[in-house]
């Protein structure tokens, strides 16, 4: 009982109630009600919490590592690794302006597995954090042999990441070739 009284600090016994054991249940009921009200109040305030409190500390370095993991996974044709990097609703805009879903992107990586690919990311990759969202801007170069033809090109990308269920996942990615 003392425990409940302490939790309900500041409460006053209701007028007319006798300090008898029978009234203790009523008082503890009021205490419980107040606790519930406080819980409800906190639940209501949760969406208003500043985003910085929910952001991932050290997000920038994790995102740079994820970008590198993405390139390595794409080079190896590692679908499982890419599956973890992308959100299920991920949208990818390719160099030719076509729009791909996650499934379509992974399918393409599978088909292109075996191509001699070499991706090079420029060191000036830039991460901008906006609470639990991050925008990564960078430049890439590509060298590869596909269907006996050598390809070489470079482009710029913007990837948008969201910190979801304790990890960063890519939700939107776009590539634009740098025209000569």
């Amino acid at each position: 009982m003392t425990h409940h009284h302490r939790r309900c600090g500041g409460s006053r016994p209701t007028e007319g109630l006798k300090p008898a054991a029978a009234n203790a249940d009523v008082i503890s009921g009021i205490c419980l009600m107040r606790i519930k009200l406080r819980v409800i109040f906190v639940v209501c305030l949760l969406p208003l919490l500043p985003s910085a409190q929910r952001a991932d500390p050290g997000g920038s370095s994790k995102l740079l590592a994820l970008e590198n993991s993405w390139d390595q996974a794409e080079e190896r044709g590692d679908i499982h690794a890419l599956d973890l990097i992308f959100d299920d609703s991920m949208i990818y805009i390719d160099e030719d302006g076509s729009l791909l879903t996650k499934a379509q992107f992974l399918d393409r990586v599978t088909k292109e597995a075996g191509t001699d690919v070499q991706w090079l990311l420029a060191p000036d990759m830039n991460v901008r954090l906006y609470g639990d969202t991050a925008v990564v801007v960078g430049r890439y170069s590509y060298r590869g042999i596909h269907q006996r033809k050598a390809h070489e090109r470079s482009g710029r990308f913007v990837d948008t990441w969201v910190f979801k269920e304790g990890r960063w996942v890519c939700v939107v990615a776009q590539s634009t070739p740098i025209l000569p």
């Binding site: 109040f41 209501c44 302006g97 801007v137 634009t176």
Partner: protein, 147 residues
């Protein structure tokens, strides 16, 4: 007492979800209106309006892979040798992701640069953040649609 408590809990749940559910539609319309305002301003070369829509840290990647900051982008709109006849964004979808709104759409542009006419279709992604009650674009990228 129990009924009152349950009613309060239901109200609390509604209140908690409201910032995400109810205003989202109006925010979506607001973002789309800003995208349209941006198009009009580009067509009219109204650099002041575009300035108001962009965050200072804007990163703009043009269809040809050129990267620009806000100052460079504003200068490119006002370029005297550029004449824009027609600008329209369509097929726009707005996604609210964390703190941002992401717009994916198709942009059509017709005009002339140094008397050389052009007509382009581009797929774009614009990333907006809300700052002090104003939505500002922080990143914009376009890619030419080849097919």
């Amino acid at each position: 007492m129990q009924m009152f408590s349950r009613a309060l809990l239901v109200l609390a749940c509604i209140a908690a979800s409201a910032p995400m559910a109810w205003p989202q539609e109006s925010q979506r319309n607001r973002i789309l209106a800003l995208e349209n305002a941006w198009d009009r301003a580009v067509q009219q070369k109204d650099v002041k309006v575009v300035d108001l829509l962009m965050a200072d840290e804007l990163v703009y990647i043009d269809f040809d892979g050129r990267i620009m900051n806000k100052t460079q982008y504003l200068a490119s709109i006002g370029e005297p040798q550029l004449r824009i006849e027609h600008v329209i964004s369509g097929s726009m979808q707005v996604q609210f992701r964390g703190e941002t709104a992401i717009v994916i759409g198709v942009y059509q542009e017709k005009g002339a640069r140094r008397a050389k006419p052009f007509m382009r279709r581009e797929r774009f992604v614009d990333t907006w953040i809300e700052r002090n009650g104003l939505w500002l674009c922080v990143a914009s990228q376009s890619t030419l649609i080849l097919h």
